[in-house]
Every structure is written in C-alpha cells, then in structure tokens.
C-alpha cells in the first residue's frame, strides 16, 4: 500500500477520449514529506509517516518543532501514518508527490464526512417511519416505533438504532478510478464523489 495526503478542491467533469463526460473530484494532493519511518525493531510495526500542508512556525509547539527538525522539513499541519508503504526510495525528509499515482489506478479515498447535526431515525438509519396519520396517530409519521416491548425484554437492547448526531465521521470510498494526474499543480482527479466538504483533508491510498 502507498498513499498521499491532500485536500478536496471540488467537483467538475471532463471528457475522456471517446467524448464521454466523466464526473470527477479534484483533490490537491501533496507535496507531502516523510516525517518519520516506523520500523519493526523500534516501534513494533512498519509504517511511513507523511506530513502535508505547511503552517507558519509560530503555530508549532516545541515537541512538534523537534519532530519536524529531525526530518528537516517545514512545519506541517497534518501528519498521518501509512502501513506497509510501498514506494521506491523512501527516506526521512523525502518529498512524496502526486506522481505516485497514474491514470487508471484504483484508489481508496478516506475523509471526514460532512456533519449533518442531530437527525431522526428516518434520515439517520433509513427507517420508514410509522407512516400513517389516521387511527389516532397524527404526529408519529417519522417516529421509530417500538424500541423494546413491556414484558420481554422490558428494556432497550444495547446498540438500538435511534436519533442522534449524524455525519462527521471517517468514511472510505473504495475503488475510485484515477482520471488524471497533473504533477505541476499537484492535482489528482478521481472519478466520482469523495466524502467531506471542500477543503477537507483526504487520504488517498492505492
């Protein structure tokens, strides 16, 4: 597995060589820097830590400053580890760019989805609601129904799906096709949509 960090730019569509319009998401990915290499001997697992998105030095606390100084890179906003990173010539401080991917690759994209706030069961869990407004139930159209009967079980089971906060969780979309890679401007286009709002950080893995 190898991967890169980026930021969602937005969506557009482009035409392929047959003139078919392909909807795609534009992601500004990289340049990332290798900030640390985890090894079996020292850390118990193999991984590569990548950093993305420069930030000014005044926003960096001392421990982080030392961490970045070790890799000899500028301060970065986002650090993420990738297990079993397979790419040639990975050394600490090295730049990882979007040319890791090529047109036609299948990638997975992980990002934090848009927050939807407190939602009822119809929106959050696709319940169908009670459905009728007659027979004396004019106000239960979007209600969850029974959540636990009276004699058995006389309680509510753990994990019962109910209303609550929805969205703003990590979502991975697998098997997206890379449509185009623009190395000069660090852009990558993947077919289809990607979780999260514009400017959300995303992880692209292959």
């Amino acid at each position: 597995m190898s991967g890169i960090l980026g930021k969602k730019v937005g969506m557009t569509s482009i035409f392929d060589e047959n003139g078919v319009s392909i909807p795609c998401t534009v992601i500004e990915a990289g340049p990332c820097f290798v900030t640390q290499i985890r090894t079996k001997e020292k850390d118990g697992y193999e991984a590569v830590q990548l950093g993305f998105d420069e930030k000014p030095d005044r926003l960096v606390n001392k421990p982080a400053k030392g961490h970045f100084a070790k890799a000899n890179v500028k301060a970065l906003r986002l650090l993420r580890e990738f297990r079993d990173f397979k790419a040639a010539g990975i050394t600490i401080g090295k730049e990882v760019k979007v040319d890791l991917f090529a047109k036609g690759d299948k990638v997975s994209v992980t990002a934090k989805s848009k927050g939807k706030g407190f939602q009822g069961v119809v929106r959050r869990h696709h319940f169908s609601g009670v459905g009728m407004t007659t027979h004396g139930q004019s106000d239960r159209v979007r209600a969850p129904g029974s959540i636990g009967s009276s004699s058995y079980p006389s309680r509510v089971f753990k994990g019962m799906r109910m209303a609550g906060r929805m969205g703003f969780r990590n979502v991975t979309v697998k098997n997206l096709t890379v449509v185009q890679v623009i190395l000069e401007s660090n852009l990558i286009l993947v077919k289809g949509s990607v979780p999260g709002a514009i400017n959300t950080y995303v992880e692209i893995t292959k």
Binding site: F15, S21, V26
Partner: protein, 113 residues
Amino acid sequence: MNKIKLVEATQLKTNLPEFSTGDTLNVHVRVVEGDKERIQQFQGVVIGKRGSGMGATFTIRKVSDGVGVERIFPTHSPRIAKIEKMKSSRVRRSKLYYLRDLAARQIRQKTSL
C-alpha cells in the same frame, strides 16, 4: 475555485462562435459507427442555454418531417466538431420553450430579426 478552472482550462473550447438563445445553428457532430467516424449535421434554433464551465449545455430544436426534434449538446464536448451560426434573431426570453406549441409560420415570425 481557481484550481477547478485550471483543470477545465485544458478542455474548454476557445474557438466557439458566440451565440445566444434564438439563433439558428448548424452543429457538426462526430458520429462513430463501428470503427468509422463521420460528421452529422444538426440544424435548428437554440431554445435554451444553461450551465457554465464544463457543465454548459445548449438545446437545439428543429422540425424534421413535421416532427419536432430537440437535442441537448454539451457545449465543450469533443464530439462537436464545429458550430456554424446561420442566423441570429432577437428574442425576449432566455428559454424558448413556448416554440414547442407554435406552428412553423408563427416561429418564423417570432424569430425574425
């Protein structure tokens, strides 16, 4: 949004004639049959334009053997080989959907200069 424009810039057509709703266009469409490619022409009145950037489309209406035919073209599609502007006319709507309900003679009156 600038980065999206950067992506689109490589595919947006710059050589299109400027046309607006009410104009009569002759659109040369590339048609692929098996491994052969030929040009098909579609001539008619622009009854609407929508969208911007890569998503822009326009709708052309013509009456073929007494049957109204409408085609929606993506403005920047590579399948459009050429757009010829045959006639322009002043109309007072941005969408000419009412032409669907008019007779040919009335359409001529409506779209005459």
